[in-house]
């Protein structure tokens, strides 16, 4: 990059340098003609480019995001702050949000994933909440490819490295594999926090004369203008063209969590606002805080702690160095706050003040290098309406072919050995899921469950996304994504209370891609309203394309549920011999987008079937059954079909199953929605059947034979559960270790 001093405002205009930073001619003209009535200088142009990027401004996705349903009686804070907040009773609140770190994780998987975890944790404690759990939702290309194995290995190590060190348990997540994520892995992380409602903080800088305090790591040239970078399409040739990789320092962040929570809990009276420095670093945090309070700030950049010498104002303001927070503190009380940080071994400095003229003003080496209306950085960004065009593939869709199963034993072994289906234990074994000593249900069941210490309540949480269904039917696929998450929450005995999302899509300028986003958001929203699970936070990651090939549209749903009484906590394993096993919900020929279809045909196609009312009534039934103590275990049926759910429930306690199921061999792998596998003790049989009625189909009894023996419509399936368990358990790590 050329030296900024030598680049004049006129050069920026004449040579269209702003284009390199992602501003369009239209946007640049808007800034110079309508906002400033002069040409912006180098620094100012840089600030607009960061703040007006998709990543910070949501200029492309806002019209779609407005469709989300965010009401609901529990909502204390909806989208718009660091994270959303829901009332969970007793004066307490749960806080959560998810974030994507897809591009950084492709470029530098360990640090990209680690800093993703660090970033989302900062969002949680900046609200005043203690981070109590994390989840990770991951997508990669197939493991037959070296690069994908490398990415999975490093991404998981990065999540573990950061989460374990900072002491936030990773209690759940998901991983699946499809060729469309080659060159475009998805790394989405969610963090959940707990707090007293009276401690809720906001990112605000108000009151002329109040101080702006910077705390945490020094600013370096890391990830400069990463927000703009995340908002552009990727091409493999440009891979090398990037600024310094951001490196996470979980130790620093642990100190920050402890210190910031001390400030927010014990010094509310002098703290005006607090926010983390995320995308577009110092400019975005300070401008947003000031703008929310309808004020402005004066910052002296010479006071900003810097790790490198000779940094320009542009670099200082747009650096995405990690582990930094910005506070606004009442004038005259700065020392009290600085002392707390010092006690926690952190550097904190006053770098400026709230002003009374609403300008965003930066001083560097005694010179004013930026003087623009604060609000223009945040609010004046144009919003883009996009064309939506239904892709050809969604028209006149036929039913998917019913697979022909010549050898059911071989097929079961193949399917449970697919990395998408196989146990993820080799991954989550690397995550400390028990730190903080609240984890009731650890990874491996349908949801992670954390008890709320000091109460008899717990929180269940899960992440779900299924790009295949959404690719085949964006609207129904969106409903299914929420439903699948809710199914996992319900199976653990919890009532779903809200969601966060990460919208992972391709280039919004492609009107088919935009259609997918628009429709799936409608689907998500509809399901949310049905389940009374408002969308309280989220994140958008567009431009997930490499060399013009987009990923499946993959909105990730992170859902939280409340367990009002710990006696309702339910696991997904059959626990004893002699339990009756039932399937709740009917099984049909649903092979569109299924694992077996992908395996047999190498691609997905066909019509998706889904009935939201049926889904809802089945969820209600499961909760009723749990609340009446009529089921011993519950497990939802998802990827891979009923055979996968049955086996997973048998594996943990090495049980066998004998019975009859009124479906075909092929339907063992059907992915009909809204189903569960539950187990019932003999003495509850009558009450259970009375309540469940026709929705429940008895299929067998657990035993100690370590065999699964099922009579089917078109034959019989008998196999050894122990052998199957070994395949399921070891497939993923075997594939990671094998040489391509």
């Amino acid at each position: 990059m050329e030296k900024p001093k030598t680049i004049t405002p006129q050069d920026i205009k004449d040579q269209k340098i702003y284009q390199d930073w992602g501003l369009t001619d239209f946007e640049y003209n808007l800034i110079s003609n309508d906002i400033l009535h002069r040409l912006p200088n180098y620094t100012e142009t840089g600030l607009y480019s960061g703040m007006w990027s998709e990543h910070c401004s949501y200029k492309n996705s806002k019209p779609v995001l407005r469709k989300f349903w965010s009401d609901g009686s529990r909502v204390l804070q909806g989208p718009g702050e660091g994270a959303g907040v829901l009332d969970i009773g007793d004066g307490q609140a749960v806080v959560f949000k998810a974030e994507s770190h897809n591009h950084p994780s492709y470029v530098e998987p360990y640090e990209g994933a680690a800093t993703g975890v660090g970033g989302i944790i900062r969002d949680i404690f900046s609200m005043g909440a203690k981070p109590v759990a994390s989840l990770d939702s991951l997508r990669f290309g197939e493991l037959t490819n070296d690069k994908n194995r490398f990415l999975l290995d490093k991404v998981v190590a990065g999540i573990a490295g950061y989460g374990n060190c900072i002491g936030v348990p990773t209690v759940g997540g998901e991983i699946s594999f499809d060729p469309c994520y080659d060159g475009n892995p998805l790394v989405n992380v969610m963090c959940v926090g707990l707090m007293d409602q009276e401690d809720i903080e906001a990112g605000r800088a108000s009151g002329a004369g109040n101080s702006i305090i910077y705390v945490g790591a020094k600013t370096g040239r890391d990830g400069i203008n990463g927000a703009t970078f995340a908002s552009s399409q990727f091409s493999t040739e440009e891979e090398s063209d990037r600024s310094a990789v951001q490196v996470g320092d979980p130790f620093m962040e642990k100190l920050l969590v402890d210190a910031c929570l001390e400030v927010t809990h014990n010094h509310k009276d002098i703290l005006v606002g607090i926010q983390d420095m995320g995308a577009a670093g110092l400019v975005s945090s300070s401008a947003e805080m000031a703008d929310k309070a309808n004020s402005g700030v004066d910052l002296d950049l010479d006071l900003v702690p810097q790790r490198e010498i000779g940094m320009t104002p542009y670099e200082i303001m747009l650096s995405e160095s990690q582990e930094r927070m910005l506070l606004c503190v009442k004038a005259g009380h700065e020392d009290e706050i600085l002392e707390i940080f010092e006690k926690h071994h952190l550097d904190a400095v006053v770098i400026g003040h709230v002003n009374d003229d609403k300008q965003y003003r930066l001083i560097h080496h005694g010179e004013v290098v930026c003087d623009i209306p604060t609000s223009s950085l945040v609010n004046d960004v144009p919003e883009y309406q996009h064309d939506v065009v239904e892709p050809e593939r969604l028209k006149n869709v036929k039913e998917a072919k019913v697979p022909v199963i010549s050898n059911v034993n071989v097929m079961v072994k193949t399917i449970i050995g697919q990395p998408t289906i196989a146990s993820k234990e080799s991954v989550y074994r690397q995550y400390d899921c028990r730190v903080q000593a609240n984890t009731v249900v650890q990874p491996g069941s349908d949801s992670g469950v954390i008890r709320v210490r000091g109460t008899n309540k717990s929180l269940a949480m899960t992440t779900d996304a299924n790009g295949r269904y959404i690719y085949l039917n964006p609207k129904l696929g969106g409903q299914i994504a929420v439903s699948e998450a809710a199914r996992n929450i319900v199976a653990s005995g919890a009532v779903p209370i809200g969601i966060t999302d990460c919208l992972n899509f391709g280039n919004p300028d492609d009107s088919e891609s935009y259609f997918e986003m628009d429709q799936s958001v409608e689907g998500i929203s509809k399901a949310c309203e049905k389940f009374d699970t408002p969308v309280i936070a989220g994140n958008v990651s567009l431009y997930n394309e490499t060399d013009n090939k987009a990923i499946y549209p993959t909105p990730m749903i992170g859902m939280v549920g409340l367990i009002e009484d710990n006696q309702y906590i339910t696991k997904s394993d059959f626990s004893e011999t002699g339990e009756l096993v039932y399937v709740i919900g009917d099984t049909n020929d649903d092979f569109a987008g299924s694992e077996i279809q992908k395996h047999l045909e190498g691609q997905i196609s066909g019509k998706i079937h889904f009935d939201l009312e049926e889904e809802f009534s089945n969820q209600r039934l499961i909760l009723d059954l749990i609340h009446n103590h009529l089921i011993e275990s519950a497990h939802d049926v998802s990827e891979g079909g009923i055979i996968v759910s049955l086996l997973e429930s048998l594996f943990e306690n090495d049980l066998g199953l004998n019975g009859e199921i009124d479906i075909t061999k092929a339907q063992l792998f059907s992915e009909t929605q809204s189903r569960y596998v539950v187990s019932v003790s003999q003495e509850d049989r009558e009450s259970f059947e009375k309540l469940a009625g026709k929705k429940a189909h008895l299929i067998g009894v657990t035993d100690d034979s370590q065999q699964i023996n099922l009579r089917l419509q078109d034959g019989q399936y008998v196999d050894d559960v122990t052998t199957l368990k070994t395949i399921w358990k070891e497939s993923l790590s075997c594939q990671m270790k094998s040489k391509a």
């Binding site: 470029v107 310094a244 990789v245």
Partner: protein, 84 residues
Amino acid sequence: MYLAQIYVHHKASILDPQGEAVLNALQRLGYDKVDAVKQGKYFEVNIQADSEDEASKVVNDIAKDLLVNHNMESFEFDLKEVAK
């Protein structure tokens, strides 16, 4: 047979939390003459090769493939011929 001593260090603009932590600890211990610390990796690798050129090619290859993260690190090395 050659012994390669490979030194891997962070590129200048990359944050080195480990080096920072060591520096802080040293300063707390009263080592006020220590100004800056960078922490990197050090490998000793035995390579069967008939010539220094061959060994040096192996070192460059393994550094590129595995030992060094080129996004963040750079490396140097020394080669010594040693007895089998």
